[in-house]
């Protein structure tokens, strides 16, 4: 790759890591940011990217994706997932370990990292399994998995039910200074529920998973994190009560971080009416009251970041009946538009706050040091057109999965281009 000089001109820089927000040009040389000034003159040999009317933000980081490889290449691959990510403005993404074989050993993790490097579009940083085979019985070799490049460990999708094992995991992970990520669900209580338990599940006659199936597990894990001093990261919060529990825990100084998905910020269980399998996801879409509490938590910093839980499935699987269809929503290519429409439009968040929740905070949690617009930093930037209105057409997705609950939704805010290592890695206008 030739690493020339690139001038991003005319845009508004929005970077909460340097507290910069205003008109500025960004000069990039040899993959690094070398200057940020209100105006930088064009010079010979300098390629120019016109960012007039656009926001220049740090590249987004997604702490929670499923690239399905190895094992279910019919759903997604590291390559198709990387393409989906870069189009969504993400310069780094963390695939979950529920692959086949499970990423519970060095070989599988290294293979995924190397495949990410071969594709070369984004930084692919796996999350290793917490227990062997995600069986919830025996801890994996943490040290080896972190050495192989994992940024965290999780049995995502399969909550670690044993309180004793969770205590040990939180304790032992302290050696490495990295988080244990929990999909917080008491599966005895959710008992095969396929959607949120409430008026809609009662009307549709579908088995409901009560809000408490999440909150009792969040409460247990917070107690264990508080005792051990280990770093707990709670995946995809869905209930108002969980937000409240984490807010209180943070006030007590518990080492906890957490994430929320764009779909939980934008949709409620009403989206399931008509047996809409595209809205079948775990944790389930909940009520308007929960949605507003999640937004409030994201706003006040209780919720650290947005993660998509990009979970691709084949069309034939998603087109099955509601009980039979798998849980999961693809999110990479709609994340910015959905979040901007749900959060910026109604003035819940500023662009600077959104840049923090989608880029700076998740990069910090993942331990990535190359996100932020400071001189001498690697140039990983996402350029956003805040005014662009567009309609979601899943047929145009780079992801293998062409099923989305946002199909046909009108969104405002679109990723215009992505710069990675100083090169234009995606240009929507090209």
């Amino acid at each position: 790759m030739s690493e020339g000089k690139l001038l991003i001109s005319g845009g508004t820089v929005v970077d909460p890591s340097t507290k910069r927000e205003g008109r500025a040009d960004v000069l990039i040389e040899d993959g690094k940011i070398t200057d940020i000034q209100p105006s930088i003159a064009a010079r010979n040999g300098l390629r120019r990217f016109d960012a007039s009317g656009k926001l220049v933000m740090p590249g987004f980081v997604d702490l929670h994706v499923h690239f399905r490889q190895p094992g279910r290449e019919d759903k997604e691959t590291v390559e198709t997932g990387s393409h989906a990510a870069i189009r969504g403005g993400f310069t780094a993404a963390c695939p979950m370990p529920n692959t086949s074989p499970v990423m519970d050993h060095r070989g599988a993790v290294e293979w995924v990292r190397q495949e990410g490097q071969r594709v070369g579009l984004i930084d692919v940083r796996p999350i290793g399994a917490l227990t062997r085979g995600q069986q919830g019985e025996e801890l994996t070799d943490f040290g080896e998995l972190f050495e192989a490049g994992c940024i965290a460990l999780s049995d995502d999708g399969k909550p670690l039910l044993s309180s004793l094992l969770m205590r040990r995991a939180l304790e032992y992970a302290k050696v490495f200074g990295r988080p244990v990520i929990q999909h917080s669900e008491d599966t005895c209580l959710s008992a095969g529920g396929v959607m949120h338990e409430g008026l809609v599940s009662t009307t549709l006659g579908l088995r409901g998973a009560p809000s408490e199936s999440e909150t009792v597990m969040v409460a247990r894990d917070l107690a264990l994190a508080e005792r051990t001093g280990g770093w707990l990261h709670v995946a995809h919060l869905s209930t108002a009560r969980s937000v409240e529990l984490i807010r209180q825990a943070k006030q007590r100084g518990v080492h906890v971080t957490c994430e929320v998905t764009p779909h939980h910020l934008a949709l409620t269980d009403e989206a399931v009416r008509g047996f809409n399998t595209l809205a079948k996801v775990n944790p389930p879409l909940r009520t308007e009251q929960d949605r507003l509490a999640l937004i409030e938590g994201l706003k006040d910093g209780t919720i650290d970041c947005i993660a998509t839980d990009h979970a691709p499935h084949t069309a034939w699987e998603k087109d099955a009946d509601f009980d039979a269809a798998p849980f999961g929503i693809v999110g990479l290519e709609t994340a910015l538009g959905v979040c901007a429409t749900a959060l910026i439009g109604p003035k819940h968040l500023t662009w600077s706050q959104l840049a923090d929740r989608m880029a700076i905070a998740p990069a910090r949690i993942a331990g990535l040091k190359d996100h932020g617009l400071a001189v001498s930093q690697p140039a990983n930037l996402t350029i956003v057109d805040p005014a662009a209105a567009w309609t979601v057409d899943p047929a145009s997705f780079a992801s293998r999965s062409k099923r989305s609950p946002f199909a046909g939704h009108r969104l405002t805010g679109k990723v215009a281009a992505v710069i990675r290592h100083g090169l234009v890695a995606w240009d929507a206008s090209a």
Binding site: S201, T202, G205, L206, F275, D319, D321, F322, D323
Partner: protein, 322 residues
Amino acid sequence: MAEAAVAREAQGLQWTKKDLLGLEDLSAEEIRLVLATAESFREISLRPIKKVPALRGKTVVNLFFEPSTRTRTSFELAAKRLSADMINITASASSLTKGETILDMVRNLEALKVDVLIIRHAAAGVPHTIARQTNASVINAGDGAHEHPTQALLDLLTIQRQKGRIEGLKVSIIGDIAHSRVARSDLWGLTKLGACVTLCGPPTLMPSHIEDLGARVTWDVAEAITDADVLMLLRIQHERQEAALVPSLREYRLRYGLDEARLRSAKPDVLVMHPGPINRGVELDSYVADGPNSVILDQVTNGVAVRMAALFLVSGPPKVEE
């Protein structure tokens, strides 16, 4: 059918839906149209020659993914009494060839040019998923805990024939409301036609927010029985015990079962109904099931008429050349 045409005329309403999936989707007028059509068909089953040519040349398929005797038989008789060609497919999930989905199966049936699919499935929404993807008409014969529209329609027809009206009646549905498609369809139908519905059962068998659908909810069976014009008992399934929803069937019978003593506290002319099959000695005492207040067998008779009406209406108006 002349009778049905008269019925439609009287209601001043044409049936426009391709499918019959649930009573949530029907207006009060549409429900009355089905009942009026069923009323006109009811007499056919009382004739010595129980057959009219209304659906001659139509192909109707009973596609049952869950065991059923009475509903399947009722639909089969309804189709045959209207002269439709009827086939039965009993398909458990395991009988689908590996990798084949329900939709594959339905597309195959559609390629065989069938007109009406009658679908029963243990999972809620299956008939709806299928209906969206086929041109054939779909009748929901019970989907999970969601709806069982023809059962509710036959319940409405039975109440209307016995009481002369539905509006203003007090109807108590007692039993496992949470897992009952009959309770949901009955609730929609009864409230749309102006009845007051009380749902009664222990809190473990009561789905959350059901009161938001317009029902009164009580855990006290005495309260549900007093003043009721109709008592509808629901089957308690043995497997509910395993899920810790009721401590034991004995406990349920003592707390909620309708026996002679409880019946004495009801109105003398109360109707006792049950969608079947009855768990004798659990939710319903034999004396009550077979007693003078019971209209359980009338429900079965009316079921055929209601299903004839459903098949006739979703099949659309007869073509001119017929």
